[in-house]
């Protein structure tokens, strides 16, 4: 059902991801302004993007005994993995690469950020940065397995790892409706791998921004962009996995994909400021004692349904 392989899709997918990420950042800036009592104007939502000229202008800092190569590799990995993850995400009828193991591809790209952030924390040879790196690993231990089971729940329901199959298998009944727990765990996972808001633990202000703390210029821009690109990619992936993809009455599929992605993104941005930063030492306990068993149970629901059909 989905068209694949058109050459221009390869250019459009990253551009759209960038657009969604920019929209999320602008919405966040508007909420920030409201909270701080500033008037919300056009300039309010444009101002965060002034970080781009700043980053281009900044001269590189040289730190003693830093691991330049690994640091740079880690910093680049985060946004690049986010962009690559979109290859398998269908938008309306279009998808860049309709892999038979699309869900695994998305998950693999997301796990690349583990390596990326760890290296980004390790590279500068600074204590707080290194702590930030550790923190992402601890956070990863907590969020990753429940997230994987959430992905598997959707895949089990459709009996396919192909993302377009999963979107197509939800005839009128979204997986978000009959697998609500998997949906919530998935959204929490999105916030966790974009290390934003309640999951900003690796870049927490208590460790002076952790993995971000020593970065400047383009390095910082790449990591910051990586966070918002991952948030956008996660929101876009939620649509085919849990919200029926481009299906919907009246509008063309691309419009439904657009509307659904923006709604998920809005919900995620709204959540960012509602909760304090979740400390991984507490979250690991919750994740392994409560979330993981419940995720397994949630996966059993579609599995048993499949068997009984």
């Amino acid at each position: 059902m989905a068209e694949t392989g058109t050459w221009w899709a390869l250019l459009v997918a990253p551009a759209m991801l960038l657009g969604f990420a920019a929209a999320a950042l602008a919405a966040d800036a508007a909420l920030d302004a409201r909270n701080a009592g500033r008037p919300i104007t056009v300039s309010t939502v444009v101002r965060p993007f002034l970080a781009v000229p700043r980053a281009v202008l900044a001269q590189p800092r040289r730190l003693p005994a830093s691991d330049r190569l690994l640091w740079r590799a880690g910093v680049i990995t985060v946004p690049v993995a986010a962009v690559l993850s979109t290859l398998v995400i269908p938008f309306g009828d279009h998808v860049v690469a309709d892999l038979s193991v699309g869900v695994v591809w998305f998950n693999a790209m997301e796990v690349l950020t583990w390596a990326g952030l760890w290296l980004a924390g390790w590279g500068p040879n600074a204590a707080f940065s290194l702590v930030g790196g550790y923190r992402f690993l601890a956070q990863g231990l907590a969020y990753e397995l429940p997230l994987m089971f959430a992905l598997i729940s959707a895949a089990t329901g459709a009996q396919s790892l192909r993302v377009t199959d999963i979107a197509g298998a939800q005839h009128g009944l979204w997986y978000a409706v009959w697998m609500p727990f998997a949906f919530v765990v998935y959204l929490a996972g999105v916030l966790a791998f974009s290390f934003l808001g309640p999951f900003a633990y690796p870049a927490g202000r208590d460790v002076a921004e952790g993995v971000l703390g020593e970065t400047s210029g383009v390095d910082r821009l790449l990591l910051e962009a990586g966070r918002w690109l991952w948030l956008a990619a996660g929101a876009a992936m939620a649509v085919p996995l849990f919200l029926g993809g481009g299906a919907g009455p009246g509008l063309p599929p691309w419009a439904w994909s657009l509307v659904k992605t923006l709604l998920v993104l809005a919900a995620l941005v709204w959540t960012l400021r509602r909760l304090p930063m979740v400390r991984a030492d507490r979250y690991v306990e919750l994740a392994w004692v409560v979330l993981l068993p419940l995720s397994v149970l949630q996966t059993l629901v579609p599995a048993l349904t499949d068997l009984s059909l």
């Binding site: 101002r47 970080a51 001269q59 005994a65 921004e209 970065t215 910082r220 507490r282």
Partner: protein, 437 residues
């Protein structure tokens, strides 16, 4: 070249500010926080992420080297300005931005063109790295602010003596990058892990200005913590205790005025705690309320907002779940250490007990803001406890810190410090009184 000039001007529209508060600079810090918030200039917690450094408060020669290291650690182009009084903050920020947006940036040329109203509120600083060579080994001793993977070569014991050079500590061994290797040691589980010696403060973001705690870290767990003498260059004038000091010297001070300042002080502490706890939205709310109180907003206007804030934060189950059990301090221990303020009254004695006590006290104080009775400095508590010039309440809080920090993870340690929030300016008063007899 034209494009570069446009980029420079665009980037300077929203500088990221490294706000460095000097001892005694609380009033200037408050003005700067308000100004940055209304201008939407983000505050950067590290020099790496900043392009404008604002030094708030009076000069302090002891902290000069630490300031210079922060300055050297900022990526160029950058600008450094100083505001000695609260009124200077806005013009100094404007001047800094103008310099940041000047095309060309006059690399290597100190420009002193921004001196504000006479007394050097904008420090002439070069906008470019003077010799093009980024300070090679400054990192080895740099610290004060944030990070310091300083190696340990057996000199660390001596270096805990504050010799007037915060963060000073070279190893003898020549190592790649001018750094010595970390030395392994047994951790609490009997594993051998590297020990990192890190100084927390004096200029850490959301940290009591001027307080320095030297810690030994294994992973992110604190094995040892030592409190440095606070760096003070002049008689302390603790902003939050002024009404009590005035009342103690016989001046008539109203209870309402004192209650207003106490509520603002608690909200300031709460803003810091919430920021450290990673809840920036509520931290902004706390700071806005604080600023409105200090601006003299009527109680009737502020009370509902303070109550709403107290409900949201005080009843947040997530915040409670994330902070409970951290920094346990029983009332008996606290009293034995000489603590008299909210930290003693907080039933249960962990971080949530303390922030809830602040919230309760703040709401009560806002209700009491219209009282007209005269302040009795002994009967009425100052924000951090009963005011005593010889042993100010913050002194007791500060002495408790090392004990509470050992064994805590770094994030938990930050919460403990923020939940007690000793005011280093009060410590200065105590020391001066003691020295003067």
């Amino acid at each position: 070249m034209g494009l570069t000039a446009v980029l420079i001007r665009a980037a300077a529209l929203r500088p990221r500010v490294l706000l460095v508060t000097m001892p005694g600079g609380t009033g200037v810090r408050l003005a700067a926080e308000t100004e940055l918030r209304s201008r939407d200039w983000p505050s950067a917690p590290t020099p790496a992420g900043a392009d404008l450094m604002l030094v708030a408060g009076p000069d302090c020669s002891r902290l000069g080297p630490a300031l210079d290291r922060l300055w050297q650690d900022m990526p160029r182009p950058c600008v450094r300005v100083r505001a000695v009084t609260a009124d200077e903050v806005a013009p100094v920020l404007d001047a800094g931005r103008t310099r940041l947006g000047a095309p060309g940036g006059e690399p290597g040329e100190p420009d002193g063109s921004v001196g504000m109203n006479g007394h050097g509120s904008a420090e002439p600083e070069s906008a470019g790295r003077p010799d093009g060579e980024p300070a090679r080994a400054h990192r080895e001793e740099q610290t004060e602010g944030e990070h310091d993977v300083r190696g340990v070569t057996g000199h660390e014991e001596g270096e805990h003596d504050h010799d007037g050079h915060p963060g000073h500590g070279h190893g003898d061994m020549e190592m790649p990058g001018g750094l010595a290797m970390a030395e392994p040691g047994e951790d609490r589980d009997g594993l051998t892990l590297d020990r990192l010696h890190v100084a927390l403060g004096p200029f850490l973001a959301d940290w009591p200005a001027g307080l320095t705690i030297r810690v030994v870290l294994q992973g992110d767990v604190i094995q040892r913590a030592d409190l440095d003498e606070p760096a003070v260059g002049r008689p302390g004038d603790p902003f939050w205790s002024r009404p009590w000091i005035r009342a103690a010297s016989g001046e008539p001070v109203g209870v309402g005025e004192a209650a207003r300042l106490r509520a603002a002080a608690h909200l300031d502490s709460l803003g810091r705690l919430l920021s450290v706890a990673g809840w920036p939205a509520e931290a902004v709310t706390a700071r806005r309320l604080r600023d409105d109180l200090l601006d003299g907003a009527p109680a009737s206007a502020v009370l509902p907002r303070v109550e709403r804030f107290a409900r949201r934060v005080g009843r947040s189950r997530t915040l409670y779940w994330l902070t409970r059990g951290i920094g346990p301090l029983s009332a008996v221990d606290a009293r034995a250490a000489g603590v008299t303020g909210p930290a003693v009254r907080a039933a249960g004695g962990d971080v949530p007990a303390r922030y809830r006590q602040w919230l309760t006290d703040a709401v009560g104080d806002v209700r009491r803001m219209n009282a007209t009775a005269r302040l009795d400095p002994v009967a009425q508590e100052s924000p951090r406890g009963r005011w005593d010039a010889e042993r100010p309440p913050s002194a007791a809080l500060a002495t408790l810190l090392p004990r509470l920090l050992v064994g805590a993870e770094l994030g938990a340690a930050r919460l403990v410090v923020a939940s007690l929030d000793p005011d280093p300016d009060e410590l200065a008063v105590g020391r001066l009184e003691a020295a003067g007899g």
